[in-house]
């Protein structure tokens, strides 16, 4: 444990949460007064492509941090690395001072850091409520020797179900309770995945584009939920392309481009930052996006082939 950090949380609560972010430098890799998640010199390459190259980043405890950047900036890859779903080429990172290097994804989740996926991963052939129940931690009935005997886990199952029902109501999925998750719409899947992640009771919630495909009315209430997570003292880190939402709820914004962190700051300062406009908005401002994508894809195919030729 980082003694320094625990000291700070105990003595100076004002530095925790959004309040602590006041006056923090806007240089990439700025120090936060009370970081819960710290990452150092993380790189990840795919063939010749450097997808992530983050020198230093800290995430403030109890605040909502947005991670933004153009397509292919490496945001999802960075999420994968932090949560143990992918291994970086170099670097170290820690949650509450505990190193997560080489820690299996399920252990990362148990330590209190839970993520959702950009491409939703609902369990299609399980009902919505079963999806939710799966999220609960410490279930006695998940041990093989206790499983055949319902009296050992029946009561806990009821508690889990109650909690799941509450969350479903909050996310407006209660009407879908008994439907197969595979029959949900894209937006509903996003909601289900977020609700399921909350069943774990995480300390840090990492959401990969939670609002993609969610209708505007629901978006508003979701924003409320995300804020209430912060009010419960949880840390939220999310990736989002919707600038309105970023402006609306985030306390801090980190901007990635081509794998690097190019700027940090409060939403207002970031939106005004020239570096951001250059890297994120400016660079491809006038180009036709579809054309750009195709060119990029082609370049990648070529790069991979070239790489394969090299390796043989």
């Amino acid at each position: 444990m980082d003694a320094d950090m625990t000291d700070q949380t105990k003595t100076d609560t004002a530095q925790t949460g959004p309040a602590g972010l006041v006056g923090v430098s806007t240089e990439p890799g700025a120090k936060k007064p009370d970081p819960i998640l710290v990452a150092d010199s993380i790189t990840r390459t795919f063939g010749g492509l450097t997808a992530v190259d983050v020198e230093h980043v800290e995430i403030q405890r109890g605040a909502i941090t947005a991670l933004i950047g153009p397509n292919g900036a490496g945001k999802t890859t960075f999420f994968n690395l932090l949560t143990g779903f992918d291994q970086p080429n170099t670097g170290s990172w820690s949650l509450e001072g505990k190193s997560l290097k080489g820690v299996a994804p399920y252990k990362v989740a148990r330590l209190g850091m839970v993520r959702t996926f950009q491409l939703t991963k609902v369990l299609a052939k399980l009902t919505v409520i079963e999806n939710m129940r799966l999220g609960a931690t410490g279930q006695k009935g998940e041990r093989i020797w206790a499983a055949p005997f319902k009296f050992l886990w029946g009561k806990q199952e009821d508690e889990v179900t109650n909690k799941a029902d509450e969350l479903l109501a909050r996310f407006m999925l209660d009407k879908k309770r008994e439907d197969f998750a595979g029959s949900l719409s894209g937006g509903q899947r996003k909601l289900l995945e977020m609700a399921r992640a909350l069943m774990v009771d995480p300390e840090v919630v990492m959401l990969d584009e939670p609002m993609a495909g969610v209708n505007p009315a629901l978006k508003q209430s979701l924003l409320g939920h995300v804020k209430s997570l912060r009010d419960e003292g949880r840390t939220v880190l999310f990736v989002e392309h919707d600038m309105d939402m970023v402006r609306d709820i985030s306390d801090w914004v980190i901007v990635m481009a081509q794998g690097k962190i190019v700027a940090e700051g409060t939403p207002e300062s970031v939106m005004a930052d020239q570096r951001v406009i250059d890297a994120y908005l400016g660079a491809h401002h006038d180009t036709d996006l579809s054309e750009l994508d195709e060119a990029r894809l082609e370049a990648e195919v070529e790069a991979e082939i070239a790489q394969e030729e090299d390796s043989k």
Binding site: N80, F85, D86, L119, D293, E294, L297, E298, E300, V301, E304, I305, E308, E309, S311, K312
Partner: protein, 446 residues
């Protein structure tokens, strides 16, 4: 009386001759055309009495009696080549005993030699065993160095032919992601077609080029078979969005279906293609001190040329590059304007043709049996897993390693009758330490 060593070998017709690449028995076994019926073949050779070329002399006129459950079911006498073929009615355990009194004078059984051997006649599965040595006087005759050279030679031939089949597998796996359990049947198909057309041509005016012609036709038919399979079965399944696991199970069904369909029409007996150009004694080519019988030399040559051509084609041609792009990332390739379906069809045609060629070459060096593909499939799997599933260069390396391990294993303690064990164990160990195989890349995370 001077004690002599000799070697008595009992070979079982209907057995898969894959096991015997280049060994002395293989050559012996193919010279006497086996009957279609179930039979036990015995070859007797006098190890202590070599001819000018150093080959042991066959022993003629020895009586062999086959019994089953104590009842005599057959009897045979060895011919001028030392071979006796004794037909039997039933499957199951048979005991072959040698009548010592019928041995030519001056020849006696070596003290370590028993005069009988148990033979399990089992045609309904690929587990038929080819050789049952009676009283081999191990160690005295063969030196380790000689064995090494011989097994090395067999290993090279086997590895190269395996390589063709593995290349075919990798092309199809790479572009479709399908672990095709019916791949062995593509190989069997090639071998069976080669045999069939050889039968057709060998008596007519084309007799001199019978084998070559049959081989070419078999390869072409193999390619056509791949095309038809893709058009009729796999293509529609892909378009329906059938999952890979479901397709894998379909391929299992197809494999069983085809295997027994082959058996329906060809029965389970083992056949061999005719000797090309009617040659009686095989010339030997020497290379790096390894003696290759000329059919082996030709096999090696054809394999190397084909593998080189395919590799160059993959590296240089447009379609080859497209194929590798699809292997790498189908979604990416599709979005950059490649016609993925066309590429896959191409992969099927070429993959199936390569595999059929592999089957033809097996038919040439060994024998043809409807179960040969199933048995080789496991070795193909070991090869491609070792190299890295789906990587083309990996499958080359994997096949070479596995082919050599397969043949050299017996020198290092793997029982000869279960040579498959070596490669399969190596595969499991490799998966433990390097799951992506020797040349494979780590899995992508979605």
């Amino acid at each position: 009386m001077r004690k002599r060593l000799y070697r008595v070998l009992v070979a079982l017709i209907g057995a898969l001759m894959v096991l015997m690449v280049g060994s002395t028995v293989a050559a012996q076994a193919t010279e006497t055309p086996p009957p279609d019926a179930t039979a036990i073949q015995v070859t007797l050779q006098d190890e202590a009495n070599k001819d000018a070329q150093g080959n042991p002399k066959p022993i003629e006129g020895v009586t062999l009696v086959v019994t089953k459950d104590g009842d005599k079911v057959g009897e045979g006498v060895t011919d001028a080549k030392g071979v006796a073929i004794i037909e039997v009615e039933e499957l199951g355990k048979h005991v072959v005993s040698l009548d010592e009194k019928s041995l030519p004078s001056g020849t006696v059984l070596d003290e370590n030699t028993k005069n009988e051997a148990t033979v399990q006649v089992r045609f309904q599965g690929p587990n038929n065993r080819a050789i049952f040595p009676i009283g081999v006087t191990a160690g005295e005759q063969s030196s380790f160095g000689k064995d090494l050279a011989q097994n090395l030679r067999a290993g090279i031939v086997f590895a190269l032919v395996l390589c063709l089949a593995a290349l075919g597998f990798s092309l199809i796996f790479g572009t479709t992601g399908l672990s095709n359990f019916a791949h062995g049947e593509l190989l069997t198909f090639g071998a069976l077609m080669a045999w069939t057309f050889d039968q057709l041509f060998k008596t007519g005016g084309l007799a001199t080029v019978s084998v070559i012609l049959a081989g070419i036709i078999a390869v072409v038919l193999g390619g056509v078979g791949g095309y038809v399979q893709d058009k009729v079965l796999w293509g529609p399944l892909r378009r329906r969005g059938t999952g890979l696991i479901a397709m894998m199970i379909v391929s299992i069904g197809l494999s069983i279906f085809l295997r027994y369909l082959y058996q329906y029409f060809y029965s389970s007996s083992t056949r061999s293609v005719s000797q090309y150009s009617g040659q009686q004694r095989e010339e030997h080519w020497y290379y790096l001190g390894l003696a290759f019988a000329d059919r082996e030399a030709i096999t090696v040559l054809i394999s190397i040329v084909t593998i080189t051509v395919v590799c160059l084609w993959l590296a240089k041609s447009r379609m080859g590059k497209a194929m590798r792009a699809v292997s790498d990332n189908p979604a990416l390739a599709a979005s950059s304007g490649l016609r993925v379906d066309g590429v896959i069809t191409n992969a099927w045609v070429i993959g199936a043709a390569l595999t059929a060629l592999s089957g033809v070459l097996y038919a040439l060096t060994l024998q043809v049996n409807v179960f040969m593909g199933m048995r080789i499939l496991l070795v193909i799997f070991a090869a491609v897993t070792l190299g890295g599933l789906g990587t083309i260069w990996g499958s080359l390396v994997g096949s070479l390693v596995i082919g050599l391990v397969y043949e050299l294993g017996p020198l290092f303690g793997v029982p000869t009758s279960i040579k498959e064990v070596g490669p399969l164990l190596i595969m499991i160990v490799i998966l433990l330490v390097r799951p992506q195989g020797i040349l494979g890349r780590k899995e992508r995370l979605g």
